[in-house]
């Protein structure tokens, strides 16, 4: 039995239109309904033209990221009743080209993150006491970043300049420096050492605030700067560049 009916105010846009608009739908909600499930309910029962992207339903894939009440979220893990808002406003991510309704085109986002060449696995810091089976030296785990695009949506500079690498790509570059796993850290540092890279950030830390996966891109951009600053100052005072 639904516990409440909650209005959802949803951003709508279709290819060829000049601008978007908002449609409102009343959705029956129970205590477990997430924003993503509510959107799927609208699509199933009220408007089959509503476009959205999703995959895993448990914050692992990063596919569904969007704005819920103006904040970057993974709607698959946002409980509707916890929001305590009426209506719930749902919009696509900012600073990324729109495809339709709540779907954005992630092509450029991926094209920016890939050059960082970050391995997808990292040394696992969890269960350090656990014994590893024969033939396995140590445990690895996946990187934190789920490439959802929330950081780019929240970043004021990604909102300013489409050529800025953006928080996710820069954070990926720092991971190469931090844990190279066969890559060349200096190449990663050289890649970000320019106006479109780590120097463009204006330290608003919005990326870190909205990251659903604990990546802390803002902190990692500052780490890149710190490392490059050290190199530059060492070079300036004659201690050699590296």
């Amino acid at each position: 039995m639904p516990e409440a009916t909650v209005p959802f105010k949803i951003f709508r846009y279709k290819q060829g239109q000049n601008a978007g608009h908002y449609d409102t739908f009343d959705v029956p909600i129970d205590e477990d309904t997430t924003v993503l499930v509510a959107l799927q309910t609208i699509r199933r029962d009220q408007d089959s033209t509503l476009m959205l992207r999703h995959s895993c339903h448990h914050a692992s894939c990063g596919t569904c990221a969007m704005l819920v009440n103006g904040r970057e979220e993974l709607p698959c893990v946002v409980n509707v009743l916890d929001l305590r808002s009426s209506p719930v406003v749902v919009e696509p991510l900012r600073n990324i080209p729109l495809v339709s309704d709540l779907v954005v085109d992630m092509t450029d986002f991926y094209a920016r993150v890939n050059p960082a060449d970050r391995p997808y696995v990292r040394h696992s810091e969890f269960l350090p006491w656990a014994q590893t089976p024969d033939g396995i030296d140590s445990y690895s785990r996946f990187e934190n970043c789920i490439e959802c695009g929330a950081c780019v949506s929240a970043c004021p500079i990604s909102g300013t300049d489409p050529d800025y690498y953006g928080p996710a790509a820069l954070a990926a570059a720092w991971r190469v420096v931090e844990e190279p796993r066969g890559r060349q850290p200096q190449q990663a540092l050289n890649w970000v050492d320019n106006e479109k890279g780590c120097w463009r950030c204006h330290v608003a830390f919005e990326c870190t605030e909205v990251c659903p996966s604990g990546v802390d891109p803002g902190g990692k951009i500052m780490a890149l700067r710190g490392e490059l600053s050290k190199q530059k100052l060492r070079g300036l005072f004659g201690f050699g560049r590296r």
């Binding site: 904040r71 050529d163 330290v203 710190g226």
Partner: protein, 136 residues
């Protein structure tokens, strides 16, 4: 440039306009407020620098010009503007210390705490300065 054109031909980009992005201060987002205020105070202080340097030319024009200028800036309106100026200097300076330190990799994890500590220092200095401006 090609990349940008391709990107924008694929569909509109919400909020990819510089001024919208700079002043996108949604709700309680501390970093955005700090960034937007840093920009505003930067522009204000730049304007003040130009005015300040132009005004100093009055010294070269002799004592009477200078004295009449001093009379004007002792008015309550100008004293209130002095307090606005001090706010701009304090915010830009103290936030600048935070941004510089964090940008060099110092105190990155504590940047929020650093912001509030510096804000508290700034508030005390602002109140003391305002009192001095109106009482000296």
């Amino acid at each position: 440039m090609q990349e940008t054109q391709d990107l924008e031909s694929r569909g509109p980009v919400r909020a990819r306009r510089p001024l919208t992005a700079w002043f996108d201060v949604r709700r309680d987002r501390l970093g955005s407020w700090a960034f937007a205020l840093n920009r505003l105070t930067a522009l204000g202080l730049t304007l003040y620098l130009f005015i300040h340097m132009a005004v100093l030319y009055l010294l070269a024009q002799g004592e009477s010009r200078w004295d009449s200028f001093i009379l004007v800036v002792r008015s309550p309106l100008f004293l209130a503007l002095d307090v606005v100026l001090i706010f701009g200097i304090l915010f830009h300076g103290l936030n600048g210390i935070r941004v510089s330190l964090v940008g060099m990799g110092i105190g990155v994890r504590n940047h929020r705490r650093l912001f509030w500590i510096l804000s508290a220092i700034g508030l005390v200095l602002l109140l003391v300065s305002a009192w001095l401006v109106f009482t000296i």
